[in-house]
């Protein structure tokens, strides 16, 4: 068998292992190990790699952000911030039709801004919001579905552990990805609120009413969420503003939420140990998958499979949009079976080269010229009046600048190479956000969405079938959002400078 054939056969082998309930990290590790033995002609090569590869995978500065964000999310729970957020949201909109459910979504979005994980957000907010929803007469399945969907905001709204992993796999800037996730995350929250208002009109019996809260109390409740706002602005703002690296941002966030938890009396000896244990389990799970994926992808790269697949797709000559849609549909289906992180680690090394090789015409040379010329002119460059006129005329036509014009503007690095780099980065960010959303849809898609299970274990009285029925409305809103974001890349990308 050729190396390429071994690489291709490893896919079905890996899938069989995973479907036999072999832990995903272990399955990838074993597939990579066996694959390397077959390609390298014996155990010497893969065993030699193991001498340093586990250590270097685990001692990664950029990946150290993951346990820090996990710890931060747990401290945020201990600090009572989930209650404060829910109380504030409830006091402002709780009296409306479906208002308590909307408040739960709002609180999930708020909690998502300091917690990077979807299941943790769903679990934390359920603990706070489920009893209230039931107390105000919200139907069981409607309440659980709202929280399952709201939980996905934990990962959409930055910071997000899955985006960190995606950024590392595709070698993209974490700060830019966080920024790009912001508007789609808010759209998601808004979409869920719309779903709730539609649902309570379709099924008026599914929600009770809650008395209005006086404005004085509302302001007080709003004021109580300032620590959340401060942590979010420090962490995400600091990372984006270049004040510190993403890892430093995560450390500052963990420190800040830890401090708040301690001041609020939520952090003591036993809850600290509990935070460590929860962080330990999640971190070990994630890093074992990262290790397995590193090993498996090392093997795949050796067999040239990713390049061959990318070349093959490129040679098919089909529309890039069709390829993108097929990949997203694939994620939607796989997302019903597998957790988001495993899926990203398993598939991005194969799909990203494919997407990278396609041209979505994000930025044209004329766009690049116009942007750089505008920057140069804004800096107060003085030009001969006729040259200035001719440049403005060219830009007004939306055409590319001529050589003389470029020279007059003193532009550097405005060439094909720069354009390609910009386009790849834009595509990577856009694709990353799309993938993030579709894998999250999998978390709330019946019958196996993980958020549904988590919440079901917290509300035993509601049959899971009721949750399934109600959650389909939220899944529909997710799908509509994906279509909008695919059709208009600018929604995701317009905050991203290039």
């Amino acid at each position: 068998m050729s190396d390429l054939a071994i690489g291709i056969w490893s896919f079905p082998a890996l899938l069989v292992l995973i479907f036999l309930r072999v832990p995903i990290g272990l399955a990838m590790f074993v597939a990579g190990l066996v694959g390397l033995m077959l390609v390298g002609g014996g155990p010497l090569v893969p065993f030699a790699r193991l001498k340093s590869e586990t250590f270097t995978t685990f001692s990664s500065y950029s990946l150290s952000i993951v346990p820090m964000f996990l710890l931060m999310g747990h401290f945020a729970t201990l600090g009572g911030m989930s209650q404060a957020l829910f109380k504030a949201a409830q006091s402002w909109i709780g009296h409306r039709k479906g208002g308590v459910a909307m408040a739960a979504v709002g609180a999930c979005a708020g909690f998502g801004s300091i917690c990077g994980s979807s299941l943790a957000t769903a679990a934390t907010m359920s603990r706070v919001a489920l009893p209230e929803l039931r107390a105000y007469g919200y139907a069981g399945g409607f309440a659980t579905a709202t929280l399952a969907a709201g939980g996905t905001l934990g990962i959409l709204i930055p910071p997000s552990v899955v985006l960190v992993i995606y950024a590392i796999l595709t070698e993209q800037n974490i700060a830019k990805l966080f920024l790009a996730a912001f508007i789609p995350g808010l759209m998601a929250a808004l979409g869920y609120v719309l779903v709730i208002s539609l649902y309570v009109r379709l099924y008026p019996k599914s929600a009770g009413t809650r008395p209005r809260v006086p404005y004085g109390e509302r302001l007080k409740a709003l004021f109580a969420v300032w620590p959340v706002l401060m942590v979010f602005i420090t962490v995400v703002g600091g990372i984006y503003g270049g004040i510190f690296t993403p890892t430093e941002g995560a450390a500052v966030g963990a420190f800040g939420t830890g401090l708040i938890a301690w001041v609020n009396g939520g952090l003591n000896r036993s809850s600290l140990a509990e935070s460590f244990f929860v962080t330990a389990r999640s971190t070990a799970m994630i890093f074992f998958i990262v290790l397995g994926a590193a090993f498996y992808n090392g093997f795949l790269a050796l067999t040239q499979v990713p390049q061959e697949i990318a070349a093959w797709v490129g040679a098919l000559g089909v529309s890039p949009w069709l390829v993108l849609i097929l990949i997203l549909v694939f994620y939607l289906i796989l997302g019903c079976l597998m957790d988001s992180l495993s899926m990203i680690l398993l598939t991005i090394p194969i799909f990203w080269p494919v997407i990278q090789g396609l041209d979505f015409a994000m930025v044209t040379m004329a766009d690049l010229h116009a942007a750089r010329a505008a920057e140069a002119l804004a800096k107060g460059l003085s030009l001969a009046p006729d040259m200035l006129d001719s440049i403005q005329a060219t830009l007004a036509q939306g055409a590319e600048l001529t050589r003389e014009q470029i020279r007059a503007l003193g532009l550097r690095g405005v060439n094909e190479g720069a354009l390609t780099r910009i386009n790849i980065e834009q595509t990577a960010i856009w694709f990353g956000i799309l993938v993030l959303i579709v894998v999250e849809v999998g978390l709330i898609t019946p019958p196996v969405g993980m958020n549904l299970f988590i919440i079901n274990t917290m509300d035993r009285k509601t049959p899971i079938i009721e949750t399934y029925k109600a959650v389909m409305f939220f899944v529909a809103s997710d799908l509509i959002r994906v279509v909008i974001l695919v059709a208009f890349p600018a929604i995701t990308l317009f905050l991203i400078a290039w």
């Binding site: 479907f19 036999l20 309930r21 072999v22 832990p23 995903i24 990290g25 272990l26 590790f29 074993v30 190990l33 065993f47 193991l50 001498k51 340093s52 586990t54 250590f55 685990f58 001692s59 990664s60 500065y61 150290s64 346990p67 820090m68 710890l71 994980s117 299941l119 552990v161 510190f244 890892t247 430093e248 450390a251 500052v252 963990a254 420190f255 830890g258 140990a273 935070s275 460590f276 244990f277 929860v278 962080t279 330990a280 389990r281 999640s282 971190t283 070990a284 799970m285 890093f287 074992f288 998958i289 079976l337 597998m338 992180l341 495993s342 019958p447 196996v448 993980m450 988590i454 274990t457």
Partner: protein, 195 residues
Amino acid sequence: MMHRFFLKLSQVFAYLGGLMLTLLVVMTCVSVVGRKLNDLLHDMVADGNMAGLAQALLDANIGAINGDFELIEAGIAFSIFAFLPLCQITNGHASVDIFTSKLSARTNRVLRAVIEVVFAMVLVLIAVQLSSGMFSKLRSGQTTFLLQFPVWWAYALSLTGAVTAAIVAIYMALIRIMESLTGATILRDEMGAEH
């Protein structure tokens, strides 16, 4: 009894890993604050704004912690290796179980025993190769770039977690083998890890 011992052992390591993580968090924050203060003091010296005091503070080495990057890399590796045993003993690894739920209880028990045995073998392999990696770093005398501490120290620290993980994995494999032989459930599953 036995189980309590291994669970406690795993928890102790998870706790140590958590302490290391907390230490790194605090150190990183101190380093960030130090770096910002350093920038500020340099500006003050340049602007002649309380230049004497600013210079004195600069001379007292206020600034980013030297080699913070290297300390994070060494420390975080220990944390993660130390986290592995708890994940192992509480079944925290992510897997897909919708297909196997259709199989009989007996088949599932055997399948699970096989998986745990393979897992134990892999973790033993990782620990053995890590120790061999450690010895080769010890022989080569390689040190880190800034702090100049021997790289093998970081390997040795991580090895403690890796060895514990391997031991716990062997214990879990034995439990699952016993379960598949006797047909009785010894350890119940716990809820999936939050992530």
